[in-house]
Symmetry: C2
Subunit: 423 residues, 2 copies
């Protein structure tokens, strides 16, 4: 075969084209188009004939037009308006672990505000030796830390308490993102102010109209919480709290206060609206559990799933999904194709990262029959993700938050999928 | 202090505002604005008075308008046109390790082409048991792998062979990105085709007009090379090779063929234009080194640097940068503020990740005097990043590629910075 630098032998292409076959691992090898010339191989295409875009075309790039359906989506009937609402990450279309900022879920209580760095102030007050106000430029002068963490809304999967509701992993499990955050440890700022001995909690507020105030025990505040200003390398997006937000690893997203404006050191919790009438878990007897901050181990098969069914016949099928735990690393994920009767341990794409998403894969040989597809996460504490019914037995059906039950997708013979429950 | 759920006591804000001071670690504490009311604290601002954007405002989001200067840039005089050129990642403005796809460097040989998934074909031919053509849908059925890798152009820092040329880390070191790739191991596809015993190399080509053909030893191809279709969770961007590119961990970016269309198994290297007249290193005596694929350990201080000088007076200063090695993990980075006379070991933000970028920080107490700022990376093989002059002694000054010498920024008393060399 003749190789001319920078070009390809057309003769070579044609010869190969005539021999073209689609190959897949042994058991499912499908001789498709064998012997039929494929014009995409035998003909020189326009993209090989003409030059493309120059490097000045997109100083800041967006996804290619063909991916215009990989977007955040909201559910109009879920909330009364869009300024106090949620949109969902298209987890069914993503792979790997990092969530691109452009389609990472948002939850606002009074809309995403625009707050320039020169206008930013962060106050630390209350039970401190000296009350302080930091500018954005001040924050940049403190020692920084970096870490990949998931941020999950406590209400993620919340509709499913009432049974299978929303048809797609984007909607059942998409109130989550996983980004690499950089910021200043909160303990550094608190040390600067000097926490008085009677200070046992902090109360954190955002600069938006809702203020979204929440109480956090000082122990957590002095552990791994940080005031972050970068996500996935770049400045936080407006909708993620630009220029600075709180990152509270492993704990519910509502605590990750955006446009962070104030941290008050207090003797006790404030019992704000956001931690009394909201973000508590009402049990069957009407009593509400509160301070349910930690997101327990959870997982979901992202594909195949209702929005991304199987588009090919029997044979090799990549079953993939995400797992995460607010209590540390994911150590194992099991997958069932028969509604939880039999389990196969999936392959983790990387060793578990504490309080970050882990990608799992199961390389399955699909027989073309129906499946009841489930995944079950295990974390480093030994905790095993429970079934939805096991959760209901303990918590009743009045809850909105903290539904980490096992999800089931009914995969049909035609490859389409549906959200179902198995008893 | 009175806490009303969802709001903030205005009285509390005013009191704190009167006591406001800017705090920084002990030695540099600057009492700025003490006793002067700050309207950003004492007055209720518009962003706390009115609602912001709803969750339907940006299905796919972009950076906030204030960050409009965080973009890829090209250098017009560097190449004759923009379709065969480079743009540079704004590494001086980023933090952490992940490069957002929107501003991750590009290098094209005939422009970025638009190739839809249904039009995509990948041929494997040459010394194989059966020549194969894969569609994009076929690729999705093979077992996947995930990994964060840096992709560095061999010409990164290439202008600096002639002495300090370009004024900013974006331009001296920005021909690089670091993304989380997901794809199919190339060895899986080659195994499907069956490599004949006489096959010792592969020749890889892109679907663009340049085809950008390169030879890779089979040993590397069967090791960690992958055919990737996702970067940072989502589909590759058009300019990064949508829908599929080669990922060749630790090796020069030119081998990471975009819009990958063909892999030919060959007995020997092809000696294409891209590996004879280009991507070789011409020594002082006119002889060229070839097959210089591996990117040796390298680092750069990203900030402060010429494009992002110090904007404050003496006191705490975060010195930060990036380090990477094509031979494995970064184990140590040293920083000098006096042009290499004395070195302090920097703090790595995370343990080194093989063939991925590592972020380092040095929390420095700046005395307000001039600095000659340098960083020096050490990798797991014990290799120490050399000075530029040490490289020139061995390689002469005819080279374009593989300049991994230590970079120096001259930080002036006014905080501005300049690209210089020290002898």
């Amino acid at each position: 075969m003749d190789h001319r630098p920078g070009t390809t032998s057309r003769r070579g292409f044609m010869r190969a084209g005539l021999a073209a076959s689609v190959a897949l691992p042994a058991a499912a090898s499908m001789a498709r188009g064998q012997g039929t010339p494929d014009p995409l191989i035998t003909e020189v295409q326009d993209w090989a004939r003409y030059s493309g875009d120059g490097v000045d075309a997109t100083p800041y790039g967006l996804p290619i037009q063909f991916e215009s359906d990989v977007i955040r989506r909201n559910v109009s009937w879920l909330t009364a308006d869009t300024i106090s609402s949620i949109n969902f990450t298209p987890i069914h279309q993503l792979d790997g672990t990092i969530t691109p900022a452009g389609c990472a879920f948002e939850r606002h209580h009074s809309g995403a505000i625009e707050l320039a760095k020169p206008d930013y102030r962060l106050m630390v007050n209350g039970l401190v030796d000296r009350e302080l106000v930091f500018t954005y430029a001040d924050l940049e002068r403190f020692p920084r830390r970096q870490g990949v963490y998931f941020c999950e809304c406590a209400a993620n999967t919340g509709m499913e308490w009432a049974g299978a509701q929303l048809n797609g992993s984007q909607f059942t499990h998409g109130m989550i993102h996983n980004m690499e955050y950089v910021g200043v440890p909160l303990k550094t700022l608190l040390a600067e102010a000097g926490v008085k001995p009677e200070g046992r909690w902090i109360y954190v507020e955002g600069a938006d109209a809702s203020s979204n105030g929440r109480s956090i025990p000082l122990e957590k505040a002095m552990d791994d919480v940080m005031v972050a200003f970068k996500a996935n390398g770049e400045a936080l997006r407006k909708e993620h709290g630009y220029p600075a937000r709180l990152v509270v690893p492993g704990w519910e997203g509502n605590l990750w206060v955006k446009w962070l404006r104030r941290i008050e050191v207090t003797a006790g919790p404030v019992e704000s609206r956001e931690e009394t009438s909201k973000y508590t878990d009402t049990l069957a007897n009407g009593v509400s559990r509160k301070w349910t901050w930690v997101m327990d181990a959870k997982s979901v098969v992202t594909a195949p799933s209702p929005q991304v069914g199987i588009t090919h016949g029997p044979g090799p099928l990549v079953i993939t999904g995400l797992a995460w735990s607010g209590r540390g690393t994911i150590t194992r994920v099991d997958v069932s194709v028969d509604g939880g009767r039999n389990w196969t341990t999936a392959r983790l794409a990387q060793p578990g990262v504490p309080m970050a998403m882990t990608r799992f894969y199961l390389d399955h040989l699909w027989d073309g029959e129906e499946m009841l597809l489930q995944s079950r996460a295990v974390d480093e504490t030994g905790y095993v993700q429970p079934t939805k019914n096991a959760l209901r037995e303990i918590r009743g059906e009045n809850s909105i938050y903290h539904n980490n039950g096992i999800q089931t997708w009914w995969i049909k013979k035609d490859g389409s999928a549906e959200n179902v429950e198995v008893s």
